[in-house]
Structures are given as C-alpha cells and as structure tokens.
Amino acid sequence: MYELNTIAFPVGHFPSGGFPDGHWPKPYDPSSYTCDPYLEKPPSYILSKLLIANDNLEAANVDIDWPVYVSDLPDLIQNSACVYDTTPVIEPDITVAMKTIRYGIQVALRSIDYAEGTLKGEELVNYLSVIRDNDVFVDDKLYRIHKINFFSGLASIGKDKLRRNLFTINLLMLVSSLI
C-alpha cells in the first residue's frame, strides 16, 4: 500500500476522478520528496566529507597519501582519490506528488602501486556498502546519507599516461539535508 495525505492507494493505482478530497495533489510539492532534490551542496562534496570523517581518505593536501578531491583531480604524483557527480536518476512517479532522486556518484582512485589501489578501493566499497542513514556535517549543515546502491564493485580501468593505476566505483546515493 502507498500513502499520500494519509489516504492509502494500492501501488500502481491512480484513482479516477481525482483524489477523495476532490483535488489532485499539487505537482512537485518539495515537502513530499523522500530525498532532497535541491541539495545546496554537491552530493560528491557531501560524500567526500563522509569519507574524510570516517578516515577512509584525507582532506585535500599535497603532502599526504590518499587525499580526496571533488570534481577535479590534480596531476599529483601520489595516491589520490576524486569524487565526481554523475547522472542522477529520478525514480518514476507513483503519483505526481511523490518522487525519489538518487544522485549519481563516481569515486575514482589513482595509485602508484596496483595492490595498494585495490586495497583502498575494497576498503571504500566495504564501507559504502554498509551505510545506513549516516549523518555528516558539511559546512555546519547536517546531511544524512540514507543508502548507497552500486552499479558495480571496484573496477580497474587501466593506467594513465604516467602508468599510474586507475580504479572507479560507480554508485547511486540517497541523501537528505536535515537542518
């Protein structure tokens, strides 16, 4: 069963003649979104903060191993990571007033040593796969990452021109802003 305005309808059923109160629901009422479709911060930025808070990766810095960048990975000679926003998926409406948006994310890793990159990638996959309603502060605002769905596991995509190893993790993320 599916609830809207406290009135339950079977999934897939759209009542003919409008809803019982005589009105069709207003389209795109933001309060009805199960996940925030208008995040003020990029989802990639929010996820990078969570990975830093959990000590999987470090804040962007040229002097340490495994710094994480957002959207733009500089050409440093070190192990590093970058989180990119990719195509989001808006789930099909069951009614016109209900939507869920899953943000597309790619976590890219670049390592000098193949085994080291694999280990870091597996560490990230293991952590991301157990996320359930994890909260993270981003610039004094609280965000909740509800769940992550993977397109695939850790993918090795070869080497770059400097023969550094490249890996990617592609996923969809449900996230809300709480304050």
Partner: protein, 147 residues
C-alpha cells in the same frame, strides 16, 4: 500549446528567469548573465539557454490541439564547483515548484504551464580549455501557451 508563438521558447524562459532574479540580461552587466543559444568564452560565471528537441505528446482529436512540450537546456558555467552547483539547485527548485507563470514580452503575453525534468542536475565536468571552469546542465521540457 503549439508552435504558433511569436517569440522563441528560450526567450520566454529567459524573461521568466530574469523576472525572478535567477539570472540577468547580459546587456546589464550584472551577476549571472543569461545568454541565449551562445555562451561567450569571455565570461566565467554565466548561463545559457538552448532550444532542444520538443516533445510532441499527441493531438486532441476533437479540437486538433497539439500537445507540445518545448525542450530546453540550461547550461551553467562557474569557476567554483560548489557555487555552480548551488546556482543549478536554486534554479531547479524554482522550475520544479512553479506552475502557471505569466510572462510578458513586448505586447505578447505567455502562460508557462509547468516545467518537467527527468534528470535533475548534470555535472558535465570541466571545460575543455585551460580555464578549468565547471559546467552544469539542466535539461527540461516546458509547455507554453500564448494568451
């Protein structure tokens, strides 16, 4: 809702966004200039509207009325990733919560019934130049009627 309108769809949406202070006319030299169909290279933080494929949703047999949604792309370019995303989110929020908006261009009045997006904000990566500016796209369709 048909092709029979006196101004291009992107001009109508440009006017709508400027009226809502979500963008500015390029000639006014303010923040977030909103160009039509061509985004000049000289401005770092700017937006541009492009006409895209329209979506024809059929025709009402009794009246012959064509059910037409104009396709559009709004491209947002910014030197700072987070600022560009925030601008895209601000505009997306407005478009997705607006219905039956009136726009007047010279002597022509238009009614924008609604906006629909299927994809949300697209991060398109960095520009293919040394300026390393971030690109975001919003793809949507809209139904416009001349009143």
């Amino acid at each position: 809702m048909s092709y029979d309108i006196n101004n291009s769809p992107i001009l109508i949406i440009q006017t709508y966004l400027v009226n809502k202070s979500l963008g500015s006319l390029p000639a006014n030299d303010n923040e977030w200039p909103l160009y039509l169909s061509f985004l000049p290279d000289s401005v770092d933080n700017a937006m541009c509207l492009y006409d895209e494929n329209p979506q024809i949703d059929g025709r009402i047999q009794s009246t012959g009325e064509l059910l037409l949604h104009f396709g559009m792309r709004l491209r947002i370019r910014n030197t700072d990733y987070e600022t560009g995303w925030a601008k895209a989110a601000e505009i997306l929020r407005d478009l997705m919560t607006s219905v039956r908006q009136s726009v007047v261009i010279n002597i022509n009045e238009y009614l924008i019934h609604t906006f629909t997006t299927y994809t949300g904000i697209h991060s398109m990566g960095l520009e293919n130049s040394t300026k390393r500016r971030n690109i975001f796209d919003l793809n949507f369709i809209t139904s416009i009627e001349e009143v």
